[in-house]
Structure formats: C-alpha cells, structure tokens
Symmetry: C2
Subunit: 768 residues, 2 copies
C-alpha cells in the first residue's frame, strides 16, 4: 500500500492517478455517509481487483456467534456486528459487448475527489478496454443529508474512439457477506424482489434480529444531456435484480445513467410499508433530479460547516486533515436519532463490529455538543439511558446486585458483545465515562433537568456498581478496586488503576451531589426515582464511605500518582531510548513483554487529569506529564489528542503540535497501515478537541463560565473555529499576532480569555 | 449422566446394567492402552446412541490451526493435537439381515468389566433385536503390553431363541475426525487400502505432519469353540475396508469372531515398510492366538503390579480408586520411548489436545521413578532434553536472547501450542518444573551423570531465562518477576508470585551448584557444555545477583509469604462460608470475579512448600497451610493431592484423608461432570503420591537418605505399597497397629523410619 498519495487541498480529498494498491485505502478515505447510512467509496462498475465492498445502515446489526479460543465464564454468546447491507450502487457496464472492468483497462487521467464542502464524491478517468475502445468516464455520487434514506449517482461515459453500443446494467445485490463474519455465515435473507419500469426493490430481512430492509433503485438516462429512455430488460436472480439498457453512441457522444438508491428499514416503518417507502424515495429523487439534489446537498453541508468548520491558514495539510475529521464525524452521526451512535469505524468499515464504545462519551460528545444543537449531545446521552436496563442485566450476569449497572464495552443494542476477559469484564472505567458524559453535557449546556429526568437513574446504577466493585482492604485500611484494565490496555488485570479509582470516587460524589440537587429542585422526579430504584439515604452513606476512603497509588519520592499498584517495580526506560526497530511494540513484542514493560498505549493517569483538570494544579499536571509522556507509545489513536491538549494547557506548544500531527492526518497518511479497513472515526473528535480545547484553550468550568486561552503553533499563520455555546455562535480567530472573537448572536455575551472577562456585543468582532 | 454407577471391586471396574446415559462416561473409564497406543471403550458393534469414538497412537499428532477471539502477538499459529486414529475395532453385525445396534435392542444382564489385574476389558449381555431374535453376547478385548502395536478382540454371539444367520463384518475405518477440531477439518489422508484373505490394511498419512500409519486387521472364527472359516466378501470404499462373513447358527450355538488389530507408524518404520509390518503384526497375533495373548497380557500386568500396586484393606472403594489410578498411569505411559509423554487425558480423550504439560515433571515423575526402573524417569527427562532447541526458539519468539529457554505450556514436539496469553506467556513457573524434575530424579536415583550429560544444558538455558525474565525494581531494591500466572490459575498477570520467584531463585542456585560439580567431576562434559553454550563465570555471577536478591512478598503481621503482591488487599472469606450454590466458582462466577476473589484453584505457595519441604520448618508449613488451605477451592484435579501430602506431613491425618478422597475417585465418581471427555491421568500420579509420600511419608532427602513416616487414616485397616529405590524393591505395610518393611533385594538395606535408622536384611520383613 502506498502512503501519502492524497493530494493536499483545503476542501477536498484528492487522489490523482490510478494505483490498484490504493483502491482499498481509498474506499475507506473517500467514504460517504449522512449519519443514518453510509458506504465505502466502491466503484459502481465491475472491479476484479482487490476491493472491500461495504455499505451500512445505522442501527441494523447482526449478532454473530462468538468465537474464542478458550471460553471464560461471563462471555456473551453473540457479538453484534454492523451489517454489510445490500449493494445499490452497482452498475455493470459493457462497451460493445466487452465487460468494463477497471482492473483490465489501461487507465489515464484518473482523478478521485471527495468534496467535503459539498458532501459529494466524484471520479473521472479515461480507460482503454482490452478490446480497444477508449472511454472517458465521469461520475458523481452522494448520500443525501436532506433525504436521509436516499443516495444518487451520475455516471457518464463518453465514447472517445468508437461508435457503438454501451450497455448499462444497474442492479441491486442482496448476496452480501460481512468480511468479519466469524463463521462465514450469511446474515441476510431475501424476502421479495420487485421489478418495475426503471425502478425496483428488494425486501430483505436480517437473520436472527429480523430487521426488515427495503433497498430500491430508480434509473434514468441521458445522451449528451438529453433525457432518453432506452428499452429495459430484466433479470431476476435468487439474490439480485438487474436491468439492462442498451444505448447507441457515436464517437464523441456521452451516455449518462442516473441511479438513485434508497434504504428503508423496520426501524422507521412497518414491515409491510417498506417496499412502498423504498420505491417512493427513489421516485421522488428522480422527480427532484440529480442537479437539484446535489444543490440541496451542498446547502446542507454548508449549514453543517457553518458551526463546525476549523480554518487553518498557512498549512494546507493541517487544513485538509482537520476538515476531513470534521467531515467524517458528521457523516457518521448527525444526532437526530437517539437509537444511533458513533461506531469507531463509522460507515467506513466493519472492524470492531460493535457500534458503541466509551469513545462516544470520552471523546465525541464535546465535538457534537459544541458544533451542533444541544439536542444532539442529549440524544447521545439518551442512547445510554435507554439501554440502562440492559446495563443492569449485564452487571447481574457478572454477579452484581441491587440495580448496579455495568455498561458494555461494545454494544449495538445495550447488550455486551465483547469477549476478551481483560477488557470485557475489567475495562470498567467505561462506566465512569457514562457519568462523565452527563456531567460534561450538563456543564456545557446547563440543562440540569436532563439529570432529573434521565441522567440520575444512570448515575445511581453506576454508583451502585462502584460501591460493589470496590472492596475494603484490611492491609490498606482503605477501599481498593482490584483486577481492572485502565484506558492503557497495555496493562491488564491490575490493581488500583488511578484513573479507574478516581472516576469511581468522583462518580459516587457527583451522583450524591446531583441527588441532593434533584431532591430540592425536582421533587417529583426525586420521588419517582427513589421509588423506582429503592434508594435510601443509608445506601448513599455506604457509597460515600467507599468514595471517602478510596485508595490511590502514589509515590512520595517522585510525587506522582502511579498508574497502578506496583508500577514502579517496572524498569522505566523512555520511549526515546527504544530502538525504532522495536516499534510499534504491539507489532514487534509478544503480549507479555508489552504488559510487563512500562510503556503506555494511551493516556491513563493523564486521561484522568484531562477530564478533571480543575482538580489538579498546573504544577501537578506538569509533573505527571513529565513522568508519563516519555513512556507513552501512543499506539491507540485516542492517545495523542489528550497529550496534545495537556501539553497546550502547560504551555508546551511544540509538544502539543507534535502530538496534534499524530492525530490529525492519522488516516489520510495511514500511520498505522490499516486505513483500508476503515477510518478511525472516534479519534477524529479528539483531533477537534486538540484544536478547540488544546490550542484554543476552551474550557467550561463548573461555575458555567466559558474560558479561552488561545495559543498557536509557530507552523500556522492563523486558525479559527466556531462553537455553539448554549445557542450562541461564537467564532474564535487566533493568529500569530492577536486573537479575535465574533459574536454571531443577537445579544451581547460575556466570556473569559486567559481568565479575564470580556464582553462581546451582538454581531461584533472583538480583538484581544 | 449418572454418577456412582461403578460397582466397587478391588481389582475391577464394573458396570452392571445398561444405561445409555453412561455410555460416554464408560467409554472413558473403561479405556484400554499400553503406553504406546490406547482407545476409549467404544463398542465393537454399531451403536447409534451417543458415543465418542476415540483411538490414539502415541506421538502421532496434527497441528490444528489456532482459533482465538482476539489475536495476541506471540500466539503460535498451530495447536498440535493428539489425533483420533483409524478405527480397527469395528465389527458390523447382522442377525438374520437385521442390523445389530445396541441402541435399538432390549438389553438385559449387561455387565462391563475392566480387569485391571490382567489388563483386559470384557462385556456380556443379552439383547433382543427389534426383529425378535435374542442373542447373548460376550466380548473380551485388550491392547497387548508385550506386543505393543497390537490389540485383540474376542466377540461371541449365542443364538438364544432362533436358528439363522449371523453376519460379522469386521472393518477398518479411516473416515475419522477429531471431536475437538477447530475448523472441522479432516486430519487424515488415505494412501492405500490393501485387501487379503482374512486380513487387510489401510495405509494413511496425517496431513501437514505427514506421519504415515499402517492400520491392519486379521480375523478368524469359531463355532462353539471350533475354528471355522466362512466365505469372505470384500467391500472397499474411499476410506474403509470391510469384510463380510456369514455364519449359520442353530439355536443355542455360539459364533465367535476373533479380530486382531495393529497400528504401526513412521515413528518406528520406514514408510514403505508399514504395510508389511502392520500385516505381520496381526498375522503373528493370529498365530499366537487369543488365549495365549491374553495369558501373556495377564503376565505383563502382573509384573507391572508387582512394583506398582498399593493395597488398601478395609475400604474397597479406596482400593478400587488407587488401583484405577495406577492402572491408567501405566496404560498411558510405560517409559520405553523418550519421544512419548503423559497427556493429561492419556489415550482416553482429546481435550487439552497437546500431549505434555508441566504435570509430567511436577506430578508424574515421582510415580514412574518409584514404581519402575530408573530408565523410565530418565526417558521423561530426555523428552525435554531433546526439545531444548525448540524451547530456546520459543523463548526467542518472546524476545529472550542468548540461549534462554522457555519450555512450552503444552506441546507435542517441543513447539508451544497453547494460546491464552495469561497462560502461554505467563505461566512460566513450568520452566522451573523442568529443573525440579531433574533434581528430583538425580536425588532419587543418584544418577548425577545425567546432569553432566544432558540436564545441565537444560538448566543453563532455564537459568538464563530467569535471569532475563526478572528485572531490578528500583522501588524495592530487589529483583522482581512481573506479569506471571502461578499454579493457581485463578490469578492472572500478577507480580511476584511466591512460587514462581522461589523456583526462579532455586533454579539459578541449583544450576550453579551443579555447574561447579560438573566442572570438577565431569571435566570433559563441562568443556563441551561451556563451548556449546558460551557460558562464562561472569554470566553466572549475574544470575546469582538476581537469585541472591530475589524479592518475596511477605506479610509481617500474619507471618506468611504472600501468594503475590497485593494478595492481602483481597477480602479473605474462607471457602467454608461460601454458599454451596456458588460453587464450583469456575461454573458459577464470571472470570473477573474469580480473579479478584481470594480463592485459590490449586496449591500455589503450598505447592512450593511441598516441592521444597526441607527448606521450611514444620511450623512454617503449618502456618501457611492454615492460611491458604481454607481459601483453596481445589478446582484443579492437581490440587487436593498436594494438600493431602502436606496435611500428612503436619500430622493432620483427617484433613489428609479428606483431601485424598477428592483425588482418588475423581473420575470413577465423576466429581467434575466431565469424565465422558476422558480421564484425568496426570492427577492420578498425585493420588499415588498422596499415599506414598503423604500417608507413607516417604522422602528422599538431599543427602540421599530414604525416610518413611507412615501414618494411617482411621478409615483403613491397613495399606501397603512398594517402591523401587535404586534397584531395591521395598514393600511397606502399615496397619493401625504397626508398620512393616520387606526388603525384596539380595542385600541388606538401611533406611530411616521417623528419622530413626533401621536396617533390613535381604528378603526379610522388619516390624517397626
């Protein structure tokens, strides 16, 4: 695979020239989606080279039977996987009866562009077929943001050196398998195939979960931009529907097919309505027409960019990187449906088959919260609220009682579907992230009512978990939490992980604090919750006994909290002294060697200090940064952003920039040699944080105050970002020279810059 | 499955009455073997009920592709499995054209007997076929100890209520699969099928490993004990060879088929010799005849029992239990071939597909050493010596250097084939057992030359491993061993496991001690080894630096060594206080809960005190026993025997007896509901130790002195055992009243009883 083949550009991802080695990587990078569905940038025409076909519908999953080497008690029987759905983009093409397959052609002028400003994907190239015909192809494709069940393709072929016949055979293919299927099972059943004039539909259902999905297509044609209607022939096979259209072309003429596709599912319709709904969507799309749909698409994306864009001046690769991240985050999740969430690969691949990790609460909420309406972040919280029952069941399976909840490590529908004991059962800090997400949201939005109506129930269940999960150590005369895995997964089954213990203590304290507030301010809710949960004051005292006496490993001499008990028994050798040939250690070392080394995969103690920055002095943060940063290998995509933000907060901008670079173009430059499997969506939110919270120094303290402390790497001329703070759109510009704030709202606002209060009148720009 | 259906009997395992529920358990319990090959007690005739067909050849294995949920660096790609081999015992039977299938008959007078004294298996029963014919069946089968590639069957059918036709169709079946195949793959390829007059052969090879195996059969017939020769018909199919013989019977007559079978393999022959060798074996067997073979078989077993038997008077179930264990150990391993070893299930099942665990060194060597010639234990040591190169390669894969060796957790040919990181990479104490095995052997036999010729190379490689695996802890100013799993597998990835650290220190010290001795007493060997290993005095000083400064977790207040760092952070609740409904915890609790509990699966600190009893005072042992015994759940079959021996050593005979009962009839009474998968062979050696070393108090101290301290549980009238001590056969009798020693050898011997020296003249009985 080639690296660094993406052409730098401010608003587009561009591939120039065709290289079969890049096809799978580009399929990931050029993915398109609208938060409800998405697809890899597969070619519409046949391609016999290496390709990874993928099209995904949010919320449609399949519980694949678990595969393990050695079964451990408590493993879930199934691993819910995002399902590779029916292919609606496909168009077989024949030129004078020769099948057109890019893999067998001589290709020139190949260019692929993902236009992020407008949310569309295009390709253009010349191809000479083995039979000698040369064609010039231009395609454009998008998944509509406005009509979120619909996508559209424009596919034009110009006959360069021949007159003859072009056959377009648009099809729907239900014969789709998941690449990551554990037992090579087929996950779909075809129920009905409906043919029609220029349109058709396949009704399918998923096995086991019985999601019903209607997949439809509608086609139309043009010759040199004049609509034409060639004769249609039909082939129905067991799992596919194909139409054939022959168009005669003269040399120099261009034949175009428009293909509209749609997914509708039983998440949103009754089963019996699906065929009509699917057909209706594509008919409507045809009616509106490709050009109008595209204009609407550009408009939709303009609106998204208005509050989400980050402009970096003087560094086009950085500009492209940050926009790519923001673009993919929006393609993955738009926030309108509380049943959906943010999969680590979004709609760009299948790996980590579950949809939701703690990434959402720890990394993604800040982005969605600050670039969109508050309802979006709230939907992410409601997703977990709606799964509370399953989290309680999950904890019960592991021996917890009394309504204690353990949220799953990976989930689709609230059930755990991860099966690696040291993670599934032990990476329990994720439970703390659930509460932190609520705290973060309420802090940013001041929507405390959410806690009274929903959040508190989650918090109580989690406080109960921590209370039961900790145990009293007679040896320490304190409470300990044994046998955990922290965010740093290069340590397993450790005792007293600082991050986990800290979160546990904080969760209990914050829950009790909120309980008291709800008791006084939302009396009815309080009564409802107490009745529902059987909570008593005595129980909360027991929680507090644990929180008040929580043990934290600390080294007096070094004056730092230790990541876990016994950490200083390790040999501490800075990463800088590790030979390059030994890295990344997750590829070069056996697992046991990684575990007993001092090397940290991703921020752990520092992750805690990032989340609770205001509980630690700058000197403490600096001391811990200096202890842990040199031994952190950042072999998780979620790590460098946190280190970058902390480095910014202690005024180490060169370090912050170094770490920022590791995250901003992770996929575009394919650092980890794995972009062909999909993009790292959730870490993209970390990149956004590294700019806004890192360089921009944005904080919302617990007293509700918004503060900025903008700094700028010397490599940039300027940068700007926008946030939506409680309905007010604030644009922040930072250059090497100064810093400006623009208030887009109708009323004056106050905020703090470097802890000094400033006021910004409505629609005014203030320079600091 | 029924429990406790085995009829108590001093010399036989007996099943009385047919119950389909017991078939698979009985197939395990009634297994027969001769150390070179063995088989489950499957029926010869067809059986359409639940059955687990199994026949195994020592040393013939297949590397099955590893299956894991999540790949960890360092996992082996293959998991070598003992191979389920061709079926040679099968005889299809028709009575007047009706197929005889025990599962469809009315059965009465069913009796199955495994005669341990003579090493044969028999069945007798009456069966009424669905078509009404009643037959009386009597079978006898054994795997010859003397002709160790050959087995024999006598199968008689009496026509009880009819005159008619009995068709015997003896066959060889190569269409065999392993029940534990990871990918349902077929492991054998049939090369050639040879038919002949009353005899035939299938030549097969294993895929990948390309072991060639010839499987042959030879049949003969009798009517009412008169040899007859019915006409033979032949059917050859792709993977089987079947002969058909029709015998006319009158009511009351008995038709008998004798079937001789043989396995020969490329371990012992050239590939092109296999067919002849296989045919030759069965021809010879036919010539000798069933009755003579059986007499020889009984004689062979008499010789085995002469030095291996334990007699328990006054407790027939205990008597049956201990003999069953001794019998199965001998069926599994006879000690004549250094390429073979002792699989945890022997030839009775497939689970734990590899052949060799640390069980051999830690549990089995004492049994074979004391009941057989010294060459047998030496062969077990040579097995590891011959695999030293692979153990060094294995360590290299995990990042070790300079000829350090890590012996595999599970192996067939020296390559690791286990894939559970916390075991494969971390249960490294097994390396110490390799050295302990050598120490134990040399101590018992005084064959120090073995160390000079072979053992020392192994010891050096292991000392190098420990030296590299330990690291200096600045915090402790001592050496620590991080990230291990001890014998107690209910703790994973712990730091400073007492047992592991102790073994590591001891291994280094013992190696240096032996090095010095070899240097002075075996100068040539010393030079050879130094040249081969590049060992320098400086290197040994570095080892000793680690050994001298090894850290051991210790609690001052409780005055006990701790199983690992942080052990006292756990809640210590005695097993006795655990509700029965929560046990066994490995079935009732999720894995994380087990890990963070205080419960011990199998002796760990106590295992260390058992191995190095003379390094600890009786008070120390007692104190540790009192701390650890109450929290040990003994959910490993290898645990109770060690606790039993230690309890005996601190004069707690009731406790010792309680623990002994848990091990002696583990399979016969199917404590763990899993005997249908096979018997627990290696723990049977622990049962033997519990009598000889436990109640009998046999020790061989480092000064070479043999000591006994015989005690007796109040439940027994008396017991006796025999040991082969450096060529002298000593019989020990212990009754409630006194204790007697008989010296079977030609010269007087001295030994110690309760640390007092006694002398026993040749062929004399001395009462103490």
């Amino acid at each position: 695979m080639n690296k660094n083949y993406i052409i730098p550009n401010e608003w587009s991802i561009i591939e120039d020239g065709f290289d079969a080695e890049n096809v799978e990587a580009s399929e990931s990078l050029f993915s398109i989606g609208n938060g409800s569905m998405g697809q890899r940038a597969n070619f519409e025409e046949d391609y016999s080279g290496k390709t990874f076909q993928g099209s995904y519908i949010g919320g449609i999953y399949y519980p694949d039977k678990t595969r393990v080497g050695w079964w451990k008690n408590g493993y879930p029987e199934y691993f819910a996987k995002v399902l590779n759905a029916l292919n609606w983009i496909g168009i077989h093409i024949q030129i004078n009866q020769t099948n057109f397959d890019l893999n067998t052609c001589e290709i020139s002028n190949f260019k692929r562009e993902l236009n992020m400003k407008g949310g569309w994907l295009s390709r253009s190239f010349n191809a000479v077929l083995p039979s000698g015909e040369e064609i010039e192809v231009a395609t454009k494709r998008f998944i509509s943001v406005k009509y979120n069940e619909t996508g559209a393709i424009q596919y034009s072929i110009k006959a360069v050196n021949f007159s003859g016949e072009i056959t377009f055979s648009p099809y729907l293919d239900a014969g789709i398998e998941n690449e990551d299927s554990n037992y090579n099972e087929y996950f779909w059943e075809t129920i009905q195939i409906i043919e029609g004039e220029n349109q058709g539909c396949i009704l399918s259902k998923t096995l086991k979960t019985e999601f019903h999905v209607g997949t439809s297509m509608r086609v139309s044609f043009a010759m040199d931009n004049q609509e034409v209607q060639p004769r249609q022939e039909i082939a129905i096979q067991e799992k596919s529907l194909t139409y054939f259209y022959k168009l005669s072309v003269l040399k120099g003429e261009t034949a175009t097919i428009y293909k509209y596709g749609s997914y509708v599912s039983s998440l949103n319709y009754k089963n019996e309505e699906l065929i009509d709904a699917a057909i209706n969507n594509v008919s409507k799309a045809k009616e509106i027409g490709f050009e109008t749909l595209l204009k609407e698409q550009i408009k939709s994306w303009n609106e998204i960019w208005h509050t989400a864009d980050i402009v970096i001046d003087g560094d086009v690769k950085a500009q492209q990187g940050i926009r790519f991240n923001i673009f993919q985050l929006n393609q993955t999740y738009m926030g309108t449906d509380a049943r959906l969430n943010i999969g680590p690969k979004g709609f760009t691949g299948e790996k980590y088959g579950g949809s939701t990790y703690w990434d959402t609460e720890a990394y993604c909420i800040p982005f969605y919260m600050a670039t969109k309406d508050a309802s979006v972040a709230k939907n992410l919280l409601l997703y977990r609220y709606n799964q509370l029952g399953k989290a309680i069941e999950n904890a019960e399976k592991l021996g917890f009682k009394n309504g204690a909840a353990l949220y799953p490590m990976v989930t689709m529908n609230g059930e755990e579907c991860h099966n690696e004991w040291e993670i599934t059962f032990e990476e329990i800090h994720r439970n703390g992230a659930m509460v932190y997400g609520i705290y973060n949201y309420v802090n940013f939005t001041q929507d405390f009512e959410y806690i009274a109506k929903n959040g508190l129930e989650v918090m109580i269940a989690i406080a109960r978990f921590w209370h039961q999960r900790a145990n009293y150590s007679a040896a320490k005369d304190q409470y300990v939490i044994l046998g955990v895995t922290g965010p740093n997964e290069y340590e397993n089954n450790i005792n007293n992980n600082f991050y986990t213990n800290y979160l546990a203590k904080w969760c209990i304290e914050y829950t009790v604090e909120c309980l008291n507030k709800v008791k006084h301010e939302f009396v009815e809710d309080f009564e409802r919750i107490v009745e529902k949960t059987n909570l008593t004051a005595e129980e909360t005292y027991k929680w507090l006994e644990v929180a008040d006496n929580m043990y934290f490993p600390f080294d007096e001499e070094k004056n730092v909290f230790l990541q876990q008990d016994g950490f200083l028994d390790k040999e501490i050798i800075p990463v800088a002294q590790l030979p390059k040939s030994e890295r990344p250690i997750n590829q070069k070392w056996s697992w046991d060697r990684i575990l007993r080394s001092c090397y940290i995969k991703q921020a752990d103690v520092l992750q805690g200090m990032f989340l609770f920055e205001n509980k630690f002095s700058p000197e403490e943060i600096e001391r811990h940064f200096d202890f842990y940063e040199p031994i952190t290998v950042h072999e998780s995509s979620l790590s460098p952003c946190i280190h970058s933000i902390l480095a910014s907060s202690i005024d180490r901008i060169p370090k912050a920039y170094e770490q920022y670079l590791r995250t901003a173009r992770l996929d575009l430059d394919d650092y980890n040699h794995e972009v062909h499997e999909g993009c790292h969506i959730t870490s993209m939110a970390g990149t956004w944080m590294a700019v806004v919270q890192g360089f921009g120094g944005m904080r919302v303290w617990e007293d509700g105050i918004l503060n900025f402390n903008p700094q700028i790497p010397k490599e940039w001329k300027s940068y700007s970002f926008t946030i939506n703070f409680r309905g007010t759109i604030i644009k922040v510009y930072k250059s090497q020279k100064d810093c400006k704030f623009f208030n887009e709202s109708e009323k004056e606002i106050s905020l703090f810059v470097n802890n000094k209060k400033i006021s910004i009148p409505s629609n005014k720009l203030v320079t600091v």
